[in-house]
Each structure stands twice: as C-alpha cells, then as structure tokens.
C-alpha cells in the first residue's frame, strides 16, 4: 500500500507492526532524527491534526510546506482536486489531505505518485485518529481485544467514530454504540462490522445504559457543521446534551474506565472530569505524534521494516456516475472515474464515499 485512505485497508498485523514502530518513535520524538531529512510534507488545512502531522514530520528531520489557514481550502476557485494534486506532488514527498467531501483522499491518491494520507474527508473516515486511539489503548491496557469500548455521541457524522469502529473490530474488541436518535451509526458501517468483521456490536440509547460494563468510554463531539439542513439544530443540540458525560455519569463507571475524546471538545465532557485520572484525552492527543511519525516513516520506506502492502480492492468501472451521496467527491469533481468497490459478494459501494449507491 502506498496510501492510507481508510482504516479498513489495514489488517491487524499491519496495525500491530505500526504500533511497534510508534513505540520506538517515542524515543526519536525526544531526541529528534534525520530519518526523513529532505522529505517534505504537504497538506490541506486541518487545524489540529495538522499540528500533529507537522510536529511528527519535523521530529523526523523533514520539512513541512502547505497551508496553515483553514480558510484557504482550495487553490483557486473552480480548480479541480485532480489538478491540485498533479501540481502539489511536484513539491512534496507525501501528501496529507483533509477535505470537505467524502472520498476526496481516495481521488487524490489516484492522481498522486507520492503517498497520500487521509486526514479526514467529511464524515467518511479519519484513519490516523484511529491509529492514535488504538495505540493509546494498547499502551495503556496492553491488549485491545479483551476490551469493551463504548463509542458515544454523534456517530452518524463523526468520521473519527466511523474509523474507530472498524479499528476496534479489527482487534476483536466489543463495541457498544451509544447515540441519540438521528445520530446513530450509519447502517452501512453496522452492516460491515457484523458481516465483514463478525464483530460484537451492542447498541444502547444512553450512556447510563452501558456505563457499568465499559473499559473505555470514547466520547465524540457533535458535528454541527455536518448536520443536514432539515434537522433542527436546536433540537439536536438538546438531545446531544443528554449525552454529556460528567462526574455523576462516571460515578457509575468502573474505577479504571478510560475516558477518551478525539479533541477538540466543546462541552461533551464536563470540565470537572479534567482532574479524573481516568480522563486520558490529552495523553491520547500526545500519542498522535509517534503514531504519525511511524506511519510517515513507513509510507516513505525510511525504516527497515516490512512495508504496508498494497491491497487490490475488487473494483468495477461504470460508464456513468453511480453515486448519489450529496457529500461524495463524485458530486463535486468533474471527470471522476465512476468506480464501485465490492466489499462482499453481494455488497457493492461507491469506491470514494464507500456508501451503497
């Protein structure tokens, strides 16, 4: 594999290799290194993930160029993403991309001779967040497979939650989905967790219904900017409030139940919990650096380890556009090759946004 677009492209053994390397990177993080000297990272803006990638690349001895302003998303109005990628691959050795349309990183990868890393494509996926989350679990608990993990909050639009669910399933953890009506995990993802991973998935309506059995409570922010217009934002916020985690909630949790969050948080987690030793979201955020160091060093073939292998997805080319997902990149970019991706014998999805069409 040359790119990292979706977490479900990685098998368990590959993730484990990556985590072993990340553990080694914790040393280099302090000492600095020349591992990727001269290598350049380019990225589309993404406020916080960007800083983590930037810090990782600098610790590897590389340099960073690109955009630090979240507003300057596109180079020029009406320029296609394909054109942008054809151009920036001349300047960078690896491209980290965040984009407001699902499947954009996939499209970028098709046009790029250098590795592309998906740093979040609308509500689709955010695989490096998941690698960070799983690395944090492994570092803190040793074994992921025996854990029961509650994934709570906006599971419909939260890309970190989507990637996390696949990542947990990859390691065989038990998954408890906790979301208000209207913000539950998309059917497609639940279907895959069940049919492709054989995962143990439980669904409950409120944090209190599951809190006592959890090893980890993973809280997600409400993705207000992605709520469809037909939803009444005030109503959704009202519901989301019922999912706020506070000291009272945690009084019912196990004494070692970890509280995680992909950050930034708004008020999903009451600040009174900041002093709770179970709250490890700042440590989690810190782990993003060695994990991203490991990933980039591996994608750039700068370490003496077996590389991530290139997968051969079962693709079908179509004559006409197939996807009708309004946030899919195929709805916004001209001349995208209409490709479907067979994820199971009877189950085909759009290659880009990974939704059935």
């Amino acid at each position: 594999m040359r790119h990292l677009i979706r977490i479900d492209e990685l098998i368990r053994d590959e993730m484990t290799r990556l985590f072993d390397l990340a553990a080694d990177m914790e040393t280099l993080r302090e000492m600095g290194s020349d591992l990727c000297k001269g290598r350049i990272l380019f990225y589309e803006p993404s406020p916080r993930t960007r800083l983590s990638f930037e810090s990782a690349m600098i610790r590897l001895g590389g340099s960073v160029l690109g955009f630090s302003d979240p507003q300057s998303t596109s180079f020029v109005k009406h320029e296609t993403l394909a054109d942008t990628v054809h151009m920036v691959c001349n300047y960078a050795d690896i491209i980290v991309i965040r984009h407001p349309h699902a499947g954009a990183a996939q499209l970028a990868a098709q046009h790029s001779p250098v590795p592309v890393v998906n740093a979040g494509d609308d509500s689709h996926q955010h695989p490096t967040q998941t690698l960070t989350d799983l690395y944090t679990l492994r570092k803190t608990r040793g074994d992921i497979s025996s854990l029961t993990v509650g994934v709570c909050g906006d599971l419909r639009y939260g890309r970190a939650a989507h990637s996390l669910a696949y990542g947990l399933a990859t390691f065989g953890a038990k998954i408890v989905l906790i979301a208000p009506d209207g913000l539950t995990m998309p059917d497609e993802i639940v279907w895959r967790l069940n049919h492709l991973y054989g995962a143990t998935v439980e669904t409950v309506a409120s944090p209190m219904d599951a809190i006592a059995e959890l090893d980890v409570l993973y809280v997600n922010r409400l993705q207000k900017e992605r709520l469809p217009q037909e939803l009444d934002p005030a109503a959704v916020v009202e519901i989301a409030k019922q999912y706020r985690i506070d000291a009272e909630t945690m009084r019912h949790a196990r004494p070692d139940c970890l509280i995680m969050h992909p950050l930034p948080r708004v008020d999903e987690i009451a600040r009174e919990l900041d002093d709770d030793p179970r709250a490890i979201f700042f440590e989690q955020s810190s782990n993003g650096v060695p994990v991203r160091m490991a990933l980039m060093a591996m994608l750039l073939n700068r370490v003496d380890r077996p590389p991530l292998t290139e997968k051969s997805p079962d693709l079908t080319t179509h004559a006409d556009p197939i996807c009708h997902n309004p946030v899919c990149i195929t709805q916004h970019e001209p001349r995208v090759a209409p490709l479907s991706h067979r994820v199971a014998p009877d189950h085909q999805v759009c290659l880009y946004c990974q939704l059935p069409y």
Copy 2:
C-alpha cells in the same frame, strides 16, 4: 523562571545577562547555529512579532510550527485556552502566545509544561518588545540609567508602552509620560512605577512640553481596536493627531535624541523623518532577532549561563472570581483559578490582568 509573562518579573541583573547573550547572538544570527536543533516553536498568530520569533528560532537551528494567519486565532469555537495549551504542548518545546485577552499568557503558563512567552495579551504587556527596546538603548547609548525617555502616544491601551515603563524603571531611567487626555498611562502602572521602583516619572500634556530634555522619544501607535466603545473614535483620532511627530517637532529636540517606535506605524511619525539619522526604529526592529534568540535559548536551557530564576509571587486563592476587568481572561475562560497577586503589602491585584479588583 520557566516562562516570560510580564517584564516586571525580571530583575535588572537578569535583563543585563540577557542583553550580553543577545550581543553574542548577533554573530550566530549571521552564521546560523544548531543551538536549538530539533526544538519547536509554536505560537498563536501575531503578524510582525511572529516573524521576529520565527526568524530567531530558525537562526537557532530550530523549526517553527503554528499559525501564520492572524485570523485563525482559536482552534475551534468554544474550545478553552486551557484545552488548547494542553494539546499544543505535545507538539512544541516552547510556546509563544499572543492573545486578545489580558492575562491569557499567564493562564497558558499555568497549564503548560514547556516555557510560555507572552507576545502580547490585549493591552496588558508585551515583554519581548521591551527587551528589544532596552537592548537597542544599551547598544546605542551604552547606559540606560542616565537617560531621559519620553513615552508618547496611546499609553492607556499600548501594551508595549506598559512593559517599557517597567523596563525603564528597572534600569533607573527618567520617564516622561506624554499622552492626550483619555489615553494616559493607567493609574496602576504609575502607582507601581512610583511605589515599587521609586522611579522618576514626569507627566506632560504635549510632546513640545518635554522634547528639549529627551534623550529618547518613544512613540506609540493609537490602539484603535482597543478603544472602548463609549469613546468617540473620531474625537480620539483628532486628539492623537496633535501627538504626531514631524520634522518641526524634532527641530526642538536634542541633536542626538533618538526616535523609537515598536512598529508598525501608521502616521504617528511623519515620513519626512525617515531620513533623520535619529530615527532608529528599523534598527530597533532588527534587534528583536538577537534578543529573542537569547531569550529562547535561555528559556530552553541551551546556553551555558545562569538561567532566569523562577519567582514566587505572593498569591492568594479565592473561592469566587474576583476580577471585573472586561478584557481579563478570567471573564472569558471557564474554570480559571481565582488568584490574587500581592505586589505590595497593601496592594493586591488580579494575577492575570494585574489590575486591582
């Protein structure tokens, strides 16, 4: 001391040590160095001060990450500064922060395991500007204590003027405050200059009242963006105009009276003075680089010199919020510890904005 939040945290001997190091840095500035190789600077935006810090860190062999866009002040709407600091300290070895609320750098320092440098917190202070100003005076005149310095313009909202007054008092210079009604130096600062420093402070209404006796005329820009809404901006600008320095003003000044300005200037200094050899504001601006190199190398313990010592301010913890200053960070950030700072036996102020409450 691990941080630099206020200029009045430094004693004279520490400033002198810093200036000696800055003089050495002038050589490294040309040659480059590996003094802070691998160290990373993070900062909140601040257009010009940022470039100076950025240049200083690169000359030290370090790298810079952060924001170059003055608009992207906050990561995410409603995220607290404390959360932001908890996160960015994972990515940086030193944090340089500019912020629209007084006391923000102080708050950041409380949450940061890495050194925090205040690059301007609303109208409170701007200590590295003052170090640059004093270094320039020492370099140009040798001795600061014998100088009479006129500080002119918007002294009420000008943070550079506030820090400068303390800095001059530290070295025993004579201070002449020159400001229009409504823009005079805050009472608190004048009180401290008199009672804590025993400074010689004179106040005059117009530049012409003092120009003949000055060794230095330090001009400050009108801080239009900080004027309270009850002031009529047009009226204030009108008054400020009377404080414009031009060739006619300088005809009454000593032949060696230096003209200084923290830059950028608008029209406080007539452009006809650009060719006056007494105008040294561009040289002053240039001195910011070795001074900031020295400060960062010292805070990061990369030089073989006695470090800046950590002060132990006399603090009192309160049960409830104490400060009512509308621009104080305590008015804008949840869960700030209400702390007061005793600066003299009978004189307590808010730890953050340093104003009486």
Copy 3:
C-alpha cells in the same frame, strides 16, 4: 544584479547560464542539499508560486518564513510597503514578493538590502514563471530560437504572458499572439517586441488561424479579477470561451505541438486533453522547482558561477508623480520617488509599472 523584477532585465546569456544551473539542480532536488543552509526566504502570499519557491528553498537546505494565507496581504492596514520591506529584510535573506499593484516588487527592491524576486505584480510581469516556461522548452525541444510559439488567451491582463513574450523574443523565437478583442497584448509590449528585440510577431484572432504552424500553444487563463469594471464580465467570458482549447482544436495541430499553461487552469483547456501526450503543463509546473533553486542559489551567491550582473537603467528623476496607471504602485504608496525609465531614445516609461505616462 541583486534582484529579479522583470524578465527583460536578463540577457540571453544570463538565462542560459541559469538554465544550465537548473539542470544541475534537478539532481539536488532529489538528494537535497545544504547549499543555502540557514538562509531564509520571506514572501508575500501567492498560492501556487509560493509552494514552488518554498519547495525550492527547502531542497536547498534553507528555511521559509512568511505568509501562507492569500488573504493576509498586508501587515497592518495603512502600513506602507516601504515600511514592511524595511522590517522584513531584518528577518530574511531573500524576499519573494507577490503584490496586487504593478511595480511593487521594483519599489520593494529599492528599499531592500537583500535580493527581491518578483513573483507577480498585478498584470505587469511574472519573470520566474517565464524562466520556468523557457527551461521547459529547452529541456523538451533543445533549442528555443527555432520555435513558433502561440501565446493564447487573456494577453492584456496576463502577467505570465507579458513576461513570456519578452523571454521568447530574447531567444529569437517566433511569437504568434492569439487573443479576443479587448484582451489583446498591450501596445507597449508589442512595441518593445518589435523595436527593442526585432522580434517576429504575428497577431491572429483565433487559435484556429494559427494552430497548424505552432510548435507550442501556450494557453493563458482569463484574469477575471483584473478585468476593468467597465467591461461586462459575462460578455468577456463568452468571448473567452471561443478560445477554449479542446481535442478538436488539437486535431489541427502538429503531432508534436506542445500544450503549455502556467496553471491553475479553469476551463481554458478541456480535460479531455489531459491524456494527450502533447499536454506538458504538469511537467512545466514541476520544472519551476529546479529553476527557482537555481535562481535563488545564484542571487544568494551560493554557487561558483558568474553572478547575474546589475544593470544600470537610464533613469530620470521627476519633481512630481508622473504615472497615471491606476494599478501602478505609485498610485497607492505615499512618497514613491517619481522615476522614469528610458527604454529607447524616444521612449520613456514609468520605472515601476513600465507603462508610458
């Protein structure tokens, strides 16, 4: 020469030397180098050219500071460009500037002790784009002088087209100007091509009138943002559409007729041509890196080659402002020295925007 403001400041021999160096830089581009270690590049924003300069400087071992946000053009409202340059030259070893006013780079150079490179000043010139274009032609075709080059599209406001015309004339190529009414090459440039270069210039109304004889078709984007308000944008766009190059156009071209474009493109070139091997605009874009590496290394005197020589233009100082070009920097900056530039015995122009006054 210390700066590069206009392509017509370079003689043929200098361009050739630069291209020889650029060819050597192609190796360093892959390997990295320490040629300009410690040197710093500062630039005003310019989305794509910026990335190319940034990549070039990093490959030379240098660092980059400045603005990555196209919005933050000026430091502070009302600060003069002269003040900005006086300040940033303290922080950078070379200044790359893009600016919305013609002649801004020339003005910057007058105030700068470090080399200034013009990365585009309104519709005036963009000399490094031209060096990239010519290097691409030399690399692809070996000899430039024997080529017939069609320059097509918005030739009135396209700065890349202006610089290119002079560059082609310098090498003796045949130039075919192809532009709609209202967007034709400015008279001043045509006059110079004829009288100063003795160039062979042909003018045609439509791509189809010349396509069969071209070795190169160089397409320019419509500069919508620079169209004067009296033009009806809709009408102009309509006309521009007739200049769109597609597979049908190229069916009439020679089998080896190159298609070039300074990028980004909107729809001047139909996407169906992306697979046409004659379309070399992405390769052209890639060549910007070694060319800019060569230019900066030469301007910074870091290579053991004869430097670019400083020209002595024939200047006249005037008592009063002379230029009436509304986009000329002299209309927007106070206290610009009114200078005229004699380009031929009877032909004087404004030094800044290079238009007759």
